[in-house]
């Protein structure tokens, strides 16, 4: 699949122009390199101070018993925070819920629905395509907290979903109380599907028409074409999309916070909310940070896979 940005031409083609800073000699080369690196420095400083710094600090305090109040000094406690986590049922519960949330809303929900919408759009008429696309994208562009409120209203006992179920004479219930993790997963599908839809629309548009038409003429049914032709041709998009969706979903905080605060009694408490509760409601910064570090490690793992998927691209 072609990338949007042009890649470097072959080594022979891309020659260095004579830049204003160019001057002869080895010292000149060093000076030139430094001079050229200069514009990067504000970004590097910001990234080091405010991103690499906190990550480094995260690694340090995850191994201490730092607390929010009272204690002026913290001490090194080794792996205690981590062993504690794996013995803590609330932590294991949060890991499980994070897994459920990610699989339900990202891998299954956003990804499949996004692909379905994108492939329907290939065939639909223009006004319908524009209308649906506009609505789905609006859900995506809305601020996190607003999206949270809208879905809170949707799932509440006296909310819209139950109104519809009543109308259909189906049993209604208090979704945010009985099945909170399902409700927040649906919320995440509602909010995040646009991303997959846009990715897959772009990918599907790049499949040459001749290929699918030829298959159609040969009598391949819609499902077979999807399975044997379309999916293999967009598999790289599927890979990167799954990766980014997963990473997005792993770090969802505001949406769940607004809808359920992780409750009732931890039934929708994913890792970010568990981390927040430990660090601030229980004042255990060290423990909370250990959880954060685990989350960061999971994220880095996905991030590395993502890089591998893009490897040949630049």
């Amino acid at each position: 699949m072609t990338a949007t940005a042009p890649r470097h031409a072959g080594p022979g083609v891309r020659r260095e122009p004579a830049s204003p800073a160019a001057s002869g000699g080895r010292a000149g080369t060093v000076r030139r390199s430094l001079f050229r690196a200069l514009p990067v420095s504000p970004a590097v400083v910001l990234l080091l101070l405010f991103l690499a710094g906190p990550i480094g600090y995260c690694v340090v305090i995850a191994f201490t018993d730092l607390q929010l109040t009272g204690q002026a000094e913290s001490s090194f406690v080794g792996f205690e925070n981590f062993t504690r986590a794996f013995r803590d049922e609330a932590f294991l519960n949060a890991v499980w819920l994070t897994l459920v949330f990610t699989v339900l809303s990202s891998l299954i929900g956003q990804n499949t629905l996004g692909l379905a919408l994108a492939s329907l759009m290939q065939r639909a008429s223009k006004p319908v395509r524009t209308l649906t696309g506009g609505i789905v994208v609006t859900a995506w562009v809305l601020p996190e907290v607003v999206a949270g409120f809208l879905l809170y209203a949707f799932f509440r006992r006296e909310g819209t979903l139950n109104a519809i179920l009543d109308w259909l004479r189906l049993p209604s219930q208090n979704w945010l109380f009985t099945l909170p993790i399902l409700a927040v997963s649906f919320a995440n599908v509602w909010r995040g599907t646009a991303f997959s839809m846009l990715v897959y629309s772009a990918a599907l548009n790049e499949i040459p028409k001749e290929v699918t038409e030829a298959a159609e003429v040969d009598g391949a049914s819609g499902w077979r074409r999807m399975w044997h032709i379309t999916l293999p041709m967009i598999r790289r998009s599927i890979g990167t999309n799954l990766m980014l969706n997963t990473l997005q979903t792993l770090s969802v905080f505001g949406l769940i916070w607004v809808m359920t605060r992780g409750g009732p009694s931890g039934k929708s408490q994913t890792l970010p909310l568990f981390m927040y509760e430990q660090a601030f409601q229980n004042s255990l910064i060290g423990y909370g940070t250990a959880v954060a570090l685990l989350l960061l490690l999971i994220g880095s793992l996905f991030s590395v896979v993502y890089l591998r998927l893009l490897r040949t691209e630049f």
């Binding site: 940005a5 514009p39 990067v40 405010f50 996190e144 980014l244």
Partner: protein, 287 residues
């Protein structure tokens, strides 16, 4: 290819095509209906004098809800805070990203590839995870509850993606024009400012708008790093509708949601018209 296929387009296949289009339209409309329900609630409730939590046609249209929230305390101060916060951070992000992208795009260096890989890696790190250590660090260095501290962190968190996107856009600007400028004695900085950036105007706009929209909607970062109520941006102050005011006035909450969301939706429309739907994905989802 097309010509060999053309004779096979019989009336039957055209009819099948038509049916398939109808089916696709129907499928999309069902999805649209499901997606629009929560959105319909916010619009209808904002105009409804007796708003509740379910979608219903208002028993009268009123602007009282907007009237009630358009006060300095509820709306203007938080929106202004949002503007200062996100505007400052976006400006910082865009400037740093443009400067950083220039050598990455223009000069060859052994460091380019590792740097870009690091940037791409950082792009996909879950920022949520580091908010607790960032809080602890900010307390230690006295940046907690400061606008500038929050702006710096916001900018840093958005920078990896912004650099990556900016570099890709910059690669699209041909080098010849710049070389001509150099021959005429312009410095790198001058050619970046006068030639490259104007030529990649839409790209710069995309990076800027995208950063701004991401920060405008972000809840967790200001929620953690700002403490004083006067400094809260709209993403956090909207919470007050629930906790502190007792009975929730859903109509006002809906009205506020609309006022708060409108700028980013407008910005998105503005930018997507110009560059097509998948603009934001250009850099991140190649492949």
């Amino acid at each position: 290819m097309a010509s060999t296929l053309a004779p096979r387009r019989t009336p039957a296949s055209t009819a099948r095509r038509g049916r398939r289009r109808m089916a696709a339209d129907a499928g999309l409309l069902v999805a649209a209906a499901a997606f629009v329900l929560p959105l319909a609630w916010v619009v209808l409730s904002a105009l409804d004098p007796h708003a509740s939590l379910r979608v219903k046609v208002p028993d009268g249209v009123t602007l009282d809800n907007f009237d009630a929230i358009l006060t300095p305390e509820i709306t203007f101060t938080p929106l202004l805070n949002s503007l200062v916060l996100c505007g400052g951070a976006t400006a910082l992000t865009a400037v740093c990203a443009a400067l950083a992208a220039y050598p990455l795009s223009r000069f060859r260096s052994r460091l380019n590839r590792p740097f870009l890989l690091t940037v791409l890696f950082a792009t996909s790190l879950p920022i949520t995870a580091i908010m607790v250590p960032v809080y602890a660090l900010f307390v230690r260095v006295n940046l907690i509850d400061t606008m500038h501290g929050t702006i710096f962190f916001f900018a840093a968190s958005q920078l990896p993606f912004a650099i990556w996107l900016m570099k890709n856009f910059m690669d699209g600007v041909p080098k010849e024009l710049e070389e001509a400028a150099w021959t005429d004695g312009a410095s790198s900085f001058q050619s970046l400012l006068r030639i490259v950036l104007p030529l990649m105007g839409p790209g710069v706009a995309v990076v800027t708008v995208f950063s701004f929209v991401m920060m405008w909607g972000n809840f967790f970062v200001p929620f953690m790093l700002l403490l004083t109520p006067d400094q809260m941006p709209a993403s956090v102050s909207i919470n007050d509708f629930f906790g502190n005011r007792g009975m929730v006035a859903y109509g006002q909450l809906a009205a506020f949601s609309i006022v708060y969301s409108t700028p980013v939706i407008l910005l998105y429309v503005l930018i997507s018209r110009r560059l097509g739907g998948g603009f934001a994905l250009g850099g991140a989802v190649k492949g």
